[in-house]
Subunit: 373 residues, 2 copies
């Protein structure tokens, strides 16, 4: 077994930057997905904040970003230190198994024994020190041969997240809090979520996976051999002149499947998944209610306002206003309201209905209203 430092030396960060974030329409769009927005009011986009969180761990030269071709310019504009060989462009979205698996396969060929950690481009974490401690422990677990994940200690019976049921304590050098993952469970209803919270043995699935690249790929190959074969072919050609031709031929054939299903759940069933409890704030800011909550926690006002040129006049109202226009927005006596004002589309809903925004996007797709998607 190598030392903790050795593991970190071989650590590479991977940021899959793919999802549009349909529940954040009309702010998030096909051409301006969630990760390109500053949803916290920090002045940084979610992507940039993710980069800044990872750079101290792996170094800027050891961060790979997997994103769509259409977002290349925006991504490189926000991450000027992103090394050219570390930009992996998808010709079409194929979900997280393909994105993370390809990154792992490319990096394993460049640097056998590499440890990869994948971190979504559009999550929010404020406690940087606690995050780093958890990643360092996860790298130690990965170095010990586990597929590691960081499970977030729940602070409320959230129904918008998946959960991990924790099992026995593991004995891993450098990861004293690591436990074995018993199973992954889907987003629960409120009653079940309350039971999970009371039980104390459940953590939120933060979607962060850290493991040796070869271990990750082997696990993927067990459940999805065809996908692994495709990714291997791509990785073999990646750093050669054949890349373009192979991408054109192979990428469209890849199966769309989330890495939770192709890797994490099978690994948990096989007892190979280690969970590092992460005792820090975390949110996937999945809808406008989540953004409103992020902001209301930070200040005394109960009306969150996002937007550089926001001009809001509110009289006894609460909720969130997102302003992308210079228009005056006046709210009178509306509670838990969500108002998203963009140049070509306006959304008015409530926090309680925030999850239903995706249904509107689906309806717009069906009606052919692609101009506002």
């Amino acid at each position: 077994m190598t030392s903790q430092r050795d593991g970190l030396d071989r650590f590479y960060s991977v940021i899959p930057a793919g999802g549009i974030g349909s529940r954040l329409w009309p702010l998030s769009r096909a051409d301006a997905p969630k990760f390109l927005h500053d949803l916290t009011g920090s002045g940084s986009t979610l992507l940039r904040a993710t980069w800044d969180r990872l750079a101290p761990l792996s170094g800027e030269q050891r961060i790979m970003v997997v994103t769509g071709r259409a977002h290349r310019a925006a991504v490189e504009g926000q991450l000027p230190s992103l090394a050219d060989p570390n930009v992996v462009l998808e010709s079409e979205p194929k979900e997280s198994s393909a994105a993370i698996g390809l990154a792992a396969a490319i990096l394993e060929r460049r640097e056998p024994g590499v440890i990869v950690g994948s971190f979504a481009a559009d999550h929010v974490i404020n406690d940087q020190n606690a995050f780093r401690r958890a990643v360092v422990a996860a790298v130690a677990a990965a170095d010990a041969g586990y597929i590691a994940t960081i499970g977030i200690t729940p602070t409320e019976p959230a129904i918008g997240f998946g959960y991990i049921r924790c099992g026995e304590q593991l004995d891993i050098d450098g990861a004293p809090t690591a436990v074995r993952a018993d199973s992954f469970v889907e987003k629960p209803d409120l009653e079940t979520a309350r039971h999970y919270l009371d039980d104390g043995n459940y953590l939120w699935n933060g979607g962060m996976f850290i493991s040796r690249a070869d271990v990750l790929l082997a696990q993927l190959g067990e459940s999805e051999p065809a996908l692994l074969a495709g990714l291997s072919e791509l990785a073999d050609a990646w750093d050669t002149p054949r890349r373009g031709a192979v991408v054109d031929r192979v990428w469209p054939t890849l199966k769309k499947i989330a890495i939770d299903y192709s890797v994490a759940e099978p690994a948990a069933k096989a007892g190979r998944l280690a969970v590092i409890p992460g005792d820090f704030d975390w949110d996937d800011v999945g809808d406008f209610a989540a953004i409103a909550k992020l902001h209301s926690a930070g200040g005394p006002s109960n009306l969150a306002i996002l937007g550089e040129n926001a001009r809001v006049l509110a009289d006894s109202s609460s909720g969130i206003v997102v302003s992308q226009t210079g228009r005056l927005i006046s709210l009178i006596g509306v509670s838990d309201i969500v108002v998203v004002d963009t140049p070509d589309a306006l959304l008015v809903t409530t926090s309680a209905n925030a999850q239903r925004v995706k249904a509107v996007v689906d309806a717009l797709k069906l009606s052919g209203s692609n101009d506002v998607l």
Copy 2:
């Protein structure tokens, strides 16, 4: 006493077109007041609909419009048959006593014995026949020397209107339903409004006043002699080359007072005010809740949509959307909502808060945000 026909022959309609309609901000503005909007979806503006209601009674050549200088072009554009001498322009708003009093004074000089009827430019009445019957009766009462008003039979305990308490039956040729007005009462609270409705002796004050011009002016002179003197000076000069100079000197000095206070209430106290019960629909569409109600009564949908190019996607929502932009407006799960989308200002409130819109306009004035007023 002259015959009913004789009275109508001497009838002249006056339309004071002055109020901005602050409770309908940001739809109604200083440069686009309420009366210039089509709030009913009929295809006619409120001003044009008022004209069309009065033309069969007085004839198009006998309708005078009193409006602000800034609105001359819009008013003349909507009323192409409006005779040039019948356009009375205010250099600044001075409320209804000055507007209606000046019209009466000008017309009395042009045509002694004229009967004037003043009708707000921004009210909604659908039952044209019942309206005409009431006006014909009011003209008969005016011809008999009364100041007449049309009181609307209440259909609900409205708190947004003033009420008229009715007294004894009058015996007027051509106005068999006329009663004496006992008193005018201000907008009541809900409990009082319910009492009025149950009592059966109260009518809504529709703000329509019909009387001989000389009678109206004499009544005005009793309560506001200085105002009458100013109006007389203006009227004496009106159809002469001195008009401009006299307007510049006198108009700014006129007292601002509603005709309800200067004429109607004193006339009621003196027993000179006749009320014709008007058994027709009537609304002053004072706020967005009123507009929503107008529309919901007309169709099965509980979401009223105003705006020629409105593009609304609504999922289990009710209330009203006013769209002045081509933007897509999406509503999800909001009840009794009011959304008014204009190029430079957006309002989001609820029907229950519709009356509070005026407070926002006041706040905007105080903060110097004149660009959106």
